[in-house]
């Protein structure tokens, strides 16, 4: 992939389109939009190289607000559309914006297969654990017991875990961030961009209208320290207001300990994003909730394989010639 370095320095404003943003006031999507615009401006890639692809749902209005190439497609299919775009032109930086219903319910199959192929596309999943655009039905990430318009007595479904799902599907980059963690989100998005291959970022997002407060234990300033652990490669897993807590491995499970009381710093698990086993265990945790890059491994991308194969075959057989194609097999001449 060759990236042209943009001579003109871009700012966040260059990435804002002229369309009025129409999410509900207070929706977590605003913060994500703002961060994405800011991050795009810093990546050193000209505007025309970005393509933002979405499916259906509140989050999927996203491309209209980005002054890049954009495609608001159909429910759940954005990863497939994005794969086609990337294959047709590997030079483009292709981003999928999707939601929990879009990516994990109707589009589950496409997410799985995009992850396994490892096309270099970035998938941002805004997880608000509800269907917003259709006005409040339970989603595949709604917790059991949650009361919604379609589950008035409480959901009887078991939710899907987006981190586990994408890890299991073979994603080469799996991360989580939160709508209100602006700088963390920016770092995570940039890491996703720098990753060569399929990158999946779950962004916990607050839907003020239909599922307000879903993530409050993790987002409220006074509580978040005790319930969120930041994943940093090579660093021990510590959290708490004074970093007084940590995570240790005990009997094959992760457990919270108080430093100095239950364990020492050396006992803590050190984050290693190259370990799929650790990534799965971290994916299991709800309290504290890990944010950051769970897993990252470098593998050849889908489009690399594809184009390399095209080049290899060209080298072996020569550039395809229509005449030879037509005349392959048994022919006969009539004088």
């Amino acid at each position: 992939m060759t990236l042209t370095v943009n001579p003109k320095v871009l700012t966040k404003k260059d990435f804002a389109s002229d369309q009025t943003v129409r999410w509900c006031p207070g929706c977590g999507d605003y913060a994500i939009l703002s961060t994405v615009q800011k991050v795009f401006a810093q990546l050193g890639l000209p505007r025309e190289k970005f393509v933002v692809v979405s499916g259906i749902g509140c989050s999927s209005r996203f491309p209209y607000y980005m002054n890049t190439y954009g495609f608001h497609t159909i429910h759940g299919r954005a990863p497939a559309v994005a794969t086609g775009i990337k294959l047709a032109n590997p030079d483009l930086s292709v981003w999928v914006v999707t939601g929990d219903g879009d990516a994990l319910s109707i589009g589950g199959n496409h997410l799985i297969h995009a992850a396994r192929r490892n096309a270099d596309i970035k998938v941002l999943l805004f997880n608000n654990a509800i269907y917003g655009l259709t006005k409040g039905q339970l989603s595949p990430t709604s917790p059991r017991g949650m009361k919604t318009k379609s589950s008035p007595y409480g959901s009887v479904e078991r939710p899907v875990n987006p981190i586990h799902l994408t890890l299991g599907a073979g994603a080469t980059f799996v991360a989580r961030t939160v709508d209100v963690f602006q700088s963390h989100m920016a770092e995570t998005l940039e890491a996703a961009y720098r990753h060569k291959g399929f990158a999946f970022v779950e962004i916990l997002q607050n839907c003020v209208i239909f599922n307000h407060g879903m993530w409050f234990p993790y987002t409220e300033r006074d509580r978040r320290h005790d319930h969120v652990v930041y994943l940093e490669p090579g660093k021990p897993l510590r959290f708490g207001k004074a970093q007084e807590k940590g995570l240790v491995m005990k009997d094959g499970k992760m457990e919270t300990v108080i430093l100095g009381e239950d364990a020492a710093e050396e006992d803590l698990v050190v984050h290693d994003p190259s370990s799929p086993a650790l990534a799965f265990m971290l994916g299991q945790l709800r309290d504290p909730l890990p944010v950051g890059v769970f897993y990252q491994v470098e593998q050849p991308t889908y489009e690399e394989w594809m184009y390399r194969q095209m080049e290899d075959v060209k080298r072996q057989k020569g550039k395809g010639d229509l005449k030879a194609l037509y005349h392959a097999g048994d022919t006969w001449v009539v004088e």
């Binding site: 389109s17 369309q19 000209p46 505007r47 025309e48 190289k49 393509v51 692809v53 491309p63 209209y64 980005m66 002054n67 890049t68 190439y69 954009g70 495609f71 608001h72 497609t73 159909i74 299919r77 497939a80 559309v81 994005a82 794969t83 086609g84 775009i85 990337k86 294959l87 047709a88 032109n89 030079d91 483009l92 199959n109 496409h110 799985i112 297969h113 594809m306 194969q309 095209m310 290899d312 075959v313 060209k314 072996q316 057989k317 020569g318 550039k319 395809g320 229509l322 005449k323 194609l325 037509y326 005349h327 097999g329 048994d330 022919t331 006969w332 001449v333 009539v334 004088e335």
Partner: protein, 620 residues
Amino acid sequence: MEKEAPLEAPVWQRVVVRFAGDSGDGMQLTGNQFSLASVLAHRDISTLPEFPAEIRAPAGTLGGVSAFQIQVGGQDVLTPGDQPDVLVAMNPASLKVSLPELPRGALIIVNTDAFTPANLKKAGYTTNPLEDGSLRDYQVIPVPITRLNREAVKDVEGLDKKFIDRSKNFFALGLVYWLFDLKPDPTLAWIDRKFGKRNPAVAEANKRALMAGYNYGITAELFQHRYRIPSVDFPPGTYRRITGNEALAMGLVTAAQKAGKMLFYGAYPITPASDILHHLAPLRHYDVLTFQAEDEIAAMAAAVGAAFAGAFAAVGTSGPGMLLKAEALNLAVMAELPLVVIDVQRGGPSTGLPTKVEQADLLMALFGRNGESPLVVVAPSTPADAFDMAIEAFRLAVRAMTPVVLLSDGFLANSSEPWRIPDPEDIPPIPVRHPSVRNNGGRFLPYKRDPETLARPWAIPGTPGLEHRIGGLEKEPETGNVSYDPQHHQRMVKERAEKIERLAGVIPEAEVFGPEEGDLLVVGWGSTFGAIREAVRQAQDQGLSVAHMHLRYLNPMPRNVGQVLKRYKHVLVPELNMGQLAWLLQARYLVPVEKLNKVQGRPFKTVEILKAIEQMVDGR
């Protein structure tokens, strides 16, 4: 050197031959070789393979019969033939399956060695048809093929036992070559090419089997006569045999190259369309990127993405896949992106008859999407025509920035005919324009239409300054901004329809075969071309006032269709469905039409159409 046939050899204008046996008997190979030898001897042919639906049906059963029918002629051959004049039956099951198709007096070559009590039982025979007199209306030529063949190959050195009986189809083929006065040389050469290096013993066995069969014909004096078929005066050129699926694959590649584009082909395995994928997958060096998607939906969605990014994108599927593709196809209608969707139709509804032909997806192609969703529909009429129509489909797609549905079917896909190979230089380029500058002063308007074609500009990602957003929501004209304004919706709906209608101005008028006006016009579309044309020709030979119009463009229809329909007293529409084109013609042109419908998973027989014609014209 070789003995003349015992009786004088009459000249046959056409003969229909059917090779039938167990799916392990190599009947497709045999049929293909016979086709090759025939065309190399300058006979015209049309072929139809029939595979069992199950991959490995139990050997010897009716479900396991594999057959290959071919019509060979000394004049224009348009169909694989109504009824076999010659049947080669390798076992009881294949005899039983084929017999209902045979006219009285047909020649049946049977492998008597396969008529064992066990095989007879598997085929459901309680008595041996070779002995019980039930075949007295046919000329049965009993040949102990298995034993004669074992004898022929017994001295081949190093031949694995399991290959001994596998060569018996070549014995049968050799015998038929003699019967048809065809040279075995092309098959000998083919055997060398195919097996010579890999397995010389097998090559030797197959060659000996072939020649033993041929010589058996000379010496055994089994036949009353040989079939002498005159050769056809083909226009000069280089020829090959081509199936509909091969033709579509080559047409797609050609279209992309003629536009200087990569071909993106998305597919999910489905019968009978998968062969298109198989033909395209090895063509990486032609800038062909085949994408085997996780499902039908993704194949279509990825093609939409590839088209947005500027590739020539196509997908191929069959009815059940077409349903799943409707959603993303409709997005391409709304986003106004050019791409080609091939539907190789098969019997439905639902899973239906996966390996059998039907033409029942026409109305789905036209109307099977939510909202007002006009697109172009074309349908090749012969395997060779599929090549031209694949190119034409892309030409129209790009011209009007629209998806085009190309309707093939299970018969067209697998049947073959001789194809005069074109010079690629003679195929005109497909002009594609990707704008690089803004079309409205300082702004780029992604839905500002070309005044002539009403196509919107195909600006592709990566172009500086033309950043824009498209999607499935309704738009404001020109800007493409999301709009639910009632007037905007009405205007956009009209424009999307109008740009398709305007293509009628550039597609050719429908040709009429026969009198300009008269008693009856037979109207068809798709793979029924051969059967209809042949029937109309025979009716004309009887002096009936009948003409044939075959529609290769179904939306928009050629501009003269309405006029042509009105010049005949009656209109007959034969279709392999319950009357979908008939319905369309009635709705569009308000003309009464008679329908002739067949939904048996099989193509029309010429005689079926001829009968309908005769009934309509002179009440016979």
